[in-house]
């Protein structure tokens, strides 16, 4: 080989603590190195041009750049060598900035280390092989999991862009959490009024197929060619026939069915439509509370249904959709706050969650928007809001901030005053997080115009005083004193967690999730919508706590990603993937068992079972390579021999 080594000074970033000239001198003595240079800034245009020239002039067939992290400029330099006619994989980087010059104080040691990192890079490069990508077709259709506001936005944007959309929603209606909210901050508009039209658009859009009351059963395939099995749960109502007239619900005798849509603040009937603006506006029978389904006698709804839509014998069914991309927009749930025994652990009727309070405030809620205490139906005078219940609490393993509680708490305090002008609200908070547009102004208004008392401090305990009120033991850290408030109603701003089933879905989609169960984006800053599985994108709170505008924005961003991907007719794979040396393979299948992507399959080759890599599915982790005992499975660009060359350069 003829290798060129470029030792970048990076101004004084590297040259300040590394003797670059000496490194270049040493590098000249490495095998196959025929040329070295010391550009001031290799990544700058003159640096790149000089590199291209050197490749031509010295007939280089491999290049090592010793500079910053490959995570920074590997892609840049690969393009550079490619412009000069080399294969982009005949290139290696030695990170002598982040890993040397910026972290080591002594120039001698730094110089020695830098030279050694260059030696490792040369050793690896001498084992590199040119790699080329493969192309394949794309199915231009997207599946969106979750019909909350983020999923709705993605669906509408994709559909408007001409991409057919399969929207899968687990509940019987789309709308998600936003549909349950009374008002939205900071404008205090009616939530249903702004979301409703979008929901209707989903129902009417010719490019959108909606599967409500459905779950994702299985996902196979890869970017451009996913195959998704959807389980349509039994509704016991034939939606083809159901007109949403509501007669069934009126007649249903099982009136004490817990009302999940109202966060169990009230009851509903066993057959019901979750709320008046539901999309699709279709009835569903709650099998656990339906007398016909539990006891085998009733049949009232079937008798009264004008279209004969009731079908007690209905079973779950499976449909399969072929799509090219998947957007996960599965949202969140509130954490189980009853772990807080010091707040009563759920035993006190007037200590409720913020989402329950939202339903109590809502005119479509169980009280018709009349704000009352659940215990006795009286109007509360003193309402205490406690923030960060299940957020920023390491002691229960939830160190993260739920991001939007500060704002909705302010909104709820404002609404409390509007509903009950005589009432007084108190908010226990740690920090007010109001960085959005008009957000801080809104919290100020709550204090200044609505007289909400903000008390900086956490609440240690809440207990009934035996006389009908609740003692809230808090502290005012600004005052430097413990404080106690007797409250009529306590609203807990309960922290959020990824929606139930998120982990199972992550495993089906082969994407990762963080400690709190939220899906992992590909890069926390630069790829917030992508995942590490090509073709799977994220929208909304399933990726991390965010408020409605951010969810909507991410919904649109995910749609843009889908459309950008679909703008091409063919896709290229990353050639840094595994391959199998068929002669070495004994067909033991260990690689197949542990491949996280299902990217290896058995293949019969001349009567012998062999492993074969599905090149479009392989993501290049190399687990198969370290699993294969005979070294038959090798990861291109990180083969055993390439890593061994690096090890051997260091240890001999």
């Amino acid at each position: 080989m003829r290798i060129g080594v470029f030792i970048c000074h990076c101004g004084s970033n590297i040259a300040g603590t590394v003797d670059c000239t000496k490194v270049a001198e040493i590098a000249k003595k490495f095998p196959d190195v025929v040329y070295t240079a010391e550009p001031m800034y290799t990544c700058a245009e003159p640096g790149q041009t000089a590199m291209e020239d050197a490749i031509h002039e010295y007939r280089l067939d491999g290049v090592v750049v010793a500079s910053c992290s490959p995570r920074m400029h590997e892609a840049t330099f690969r393009r550079t060598v490619e412009r000069a006619g080399l294969n982009r994989y005949m290139f290696e980087m030695a990170n002598i900035r982040e890993h040397v010059s910026w972290i080591g104080k002594e120039k001698d040691a730094n110089t020695n280390k830098a030279a050694e990192l260059v030696e490792i890079a040369v050793a690896k490069l001498r084992n590199n092989r040119p790699l080329t990508a493969k192309t394949f077709d794309v199915t231009k259709k997207v599946l969106i999991a979750g019909g909350g506001v983020a999923g709705i936005q993605s669906a509408l944007d994709c559909a408007d862009g001409g991409v057919p959309v399969i929207l899968v929603e687990r509940e019987s209606t789309i709308g998600g959490k936003m549909a349950k909210l009374d008002k939205t901050f900071p404008t205090v508009d009616c939530s249903a009024c702004i979301l409703g039209p979008k929901m209707v658009d989903v129902a009417q859009h010719p490019n959108i197929t909606l599967h409500a009351y459905s779950e994702i059963e299985d996902v196979s395939g890869y970017v451009g060619n996913f195959s998704v099995k959807i389980r349509k749960l039994a509704t016991y109502v034939d939606w083809e026939k159901c007109t949403g007239c509501g007669v069934c619900s009126e007649k249903c005798p099982s009136k004490k069915t817990p009302d999940a849509f109202n966060e169990f603040t009230g009851t509903t009937t066993a057959v019901s439509i979750s709320f008046p603006q539901a999309i699709p506006k279709k009835a569903v029978i709650n099998a656990r509370h339906c007398r016909q389904l539990t006891k085998g006698k009733c049949g009232v709804c079937a008798k009264f249904c004008p279209t004969g839509a009731i079908d007690y014998a209905m079973q779950d069914s499976i449909v399969t959709e072929e799509v090219g991309c998947i957007i996960a927009a599965t949202g969140y749930d509130l954490m189980d706050w009853t772990v807080y025994r010091e707040y009563g652990g759920g035993a006190y009727p007037d200590v409720i969650t913020s989402l329950q309070y939202e339903r109590l405030l809502s005119s479509s809620g169980p009280t018709g928007g009349h704000l009352i205490r659940p215990s006795d139906g009286g109007e509360p005078q003193n309402v205490v809001f406690v923030q960060c219940v299940g957020s920023r609490d390491k002691s229960i393993g939830r160190p993260q901030c739920s991001a939007f509680c500060c704002m909705y708490t302010a909104k709820q305090a404002v609404l409390t005053k509007e509903h009950l002008p005589e009432s007084q609200s108190y908010v226990f908070y740690m920090d007010i997080r109001a960085p959005g547009k008009m957000y801080d102004e809104f919290t100020r208004r709550a204090m200044e115009e609505y007289g909400v008392e903000y008390i900086r401090g956490r609440v240690s305990a809440i207990y009934p005083d035996g006389l009908g009120q609740y003692v809230v033991m808090g502290s005012d850290t600004l005052l430097g004193e413990p404080v106690e408030i007797k409250a009529d109603l306590v609203v807990l701003a309960v922290g959020i967690e990824a929606a139930r089933g998120t982990r199972a879905l992550a495993e089906k989609l082969r994407i990762s999730y963080d400690k709190s169960g939220f899906f992992m984006e590909s890069h926390v800053k630069l790829k917030p919508v992508e995942t590490n599985t090509a073709g799977v994108f994220l929208a909304g709170v399933c990726q991390g706590a965010k408020d409605i505008p951010a969810s909507v924005a991410q919904g649109s961003a995910a749609a843009a990603k889908v459309m950008a991907l679909f703008a091409r007719d063919k896709l290229e794979n990353n050639p840094q993937i595994a391959f199998v040396d068929l002669r070495r393979c004994v067909g033991c299948g260990k690689c197949i068992r542990c491949c996280p992507f299902g990217a290896i399959k058995e293949k019969d080759i001349r009567g012998e079972t062999k492993a074969q890599v599905i090149e479009t599915v392989c993501q290049g982790c190399g687990l198969c390579t370290s699993t294969c005992p005979q070294g038959a499975a090798q990861l291109s660009h990180a083969t055993d021999n390439q890593i061994l060359a690096e090890v051997n350069a260091l240890c001999r």
């Binding site: 960060c388 305990a461 033991m473 502290s475 430097g480 004193e481």
Partner: protein
């Protein structure tokens, strides 16, 4: 002279390290939510609330913290530790500070310490505690005559207070006494206040 706290000058890094080592807690994990203060039953008797003690320790304001009354009034009920969202054993820090203050003879609430010694003296002498002895010693030490004089008649009537101490037999009292003796000798050796 300004009486504004110069937190840069007052910061005692050695003190922070000492508190962390002795208590096994990491002070920087405290984010000042005030939950300790909110739940502290003795807070009303403090000069500085628990969260301010925590803040002082965090900043390394050694004298401020060790001179506080609060560390002497802490009841060691562990409510703060139990409810701390950052899993800090606040009670352990309070106890650590109390030990440090005692060893350095920075006892801002002498009567509490006097009570403890009165109690421990009966233990040292007899192997077990003796209420009347404790109270008598305490009165001598604190020059407070019969703090609980209102209780005495009732207590005596109900025979709640034995007039004679119980001495642990078979050399037991002596063994306990030797524990105290060795403790005192070691403290002397190590140059700390016993």
């Amino acid at each position: 002279m300004s009486n504004i706290t110069d937190i840069r000058l007052k910061r005692d890094a050695g003190f922070i390290a000492e508190v962390e080592a002795a208590s096994g807690q990491k002070l920087s994990t405290c984010y000042q939510c005030g939950n300790c203060t909110a739940g502290c039953p003795a807070g009303f008797a403090y000069d500085k609330q628990v969260n301010r003690i925590m803040r002082g320790a965090q900043l390394g304001l050694k004298d401020d913290v060790l001179n506080s009354r609060a560390i002497w009034m802490c009841l060691s009920c562990f409510t703060c530790s139990l409810r701390c969202p950052n899993n800090i054993d606040v009670a352990a820090i309070m106890e650590t500070l109390r030990h440090m203050a005692r060893k350095k003879n920075m006892v801002s609430v002498r009567k509490v310490e006097k009570f403890w010694f009165s109690f421990l003296n009966t233990v040292r002498a007899f192997g077990r505690s003796w209420e009347i002895g404790t109270m008598a010693l305490y009165m001598l030490r604190s020059l407070r005559v019969f703090t609980d004089i209102d209780l005495a008649p009732e207590a005596l009537k109900k025979q709640k207070l034995p007039f004679k101490p119980y001495v642990v037999p078979n050399g037991g009292a002596g063994a306990v006494g030797r524990i105290f003796k060795r403790y005192r000798e070691r403290a002397d050796r190590e140059g700390v206040r016993p």
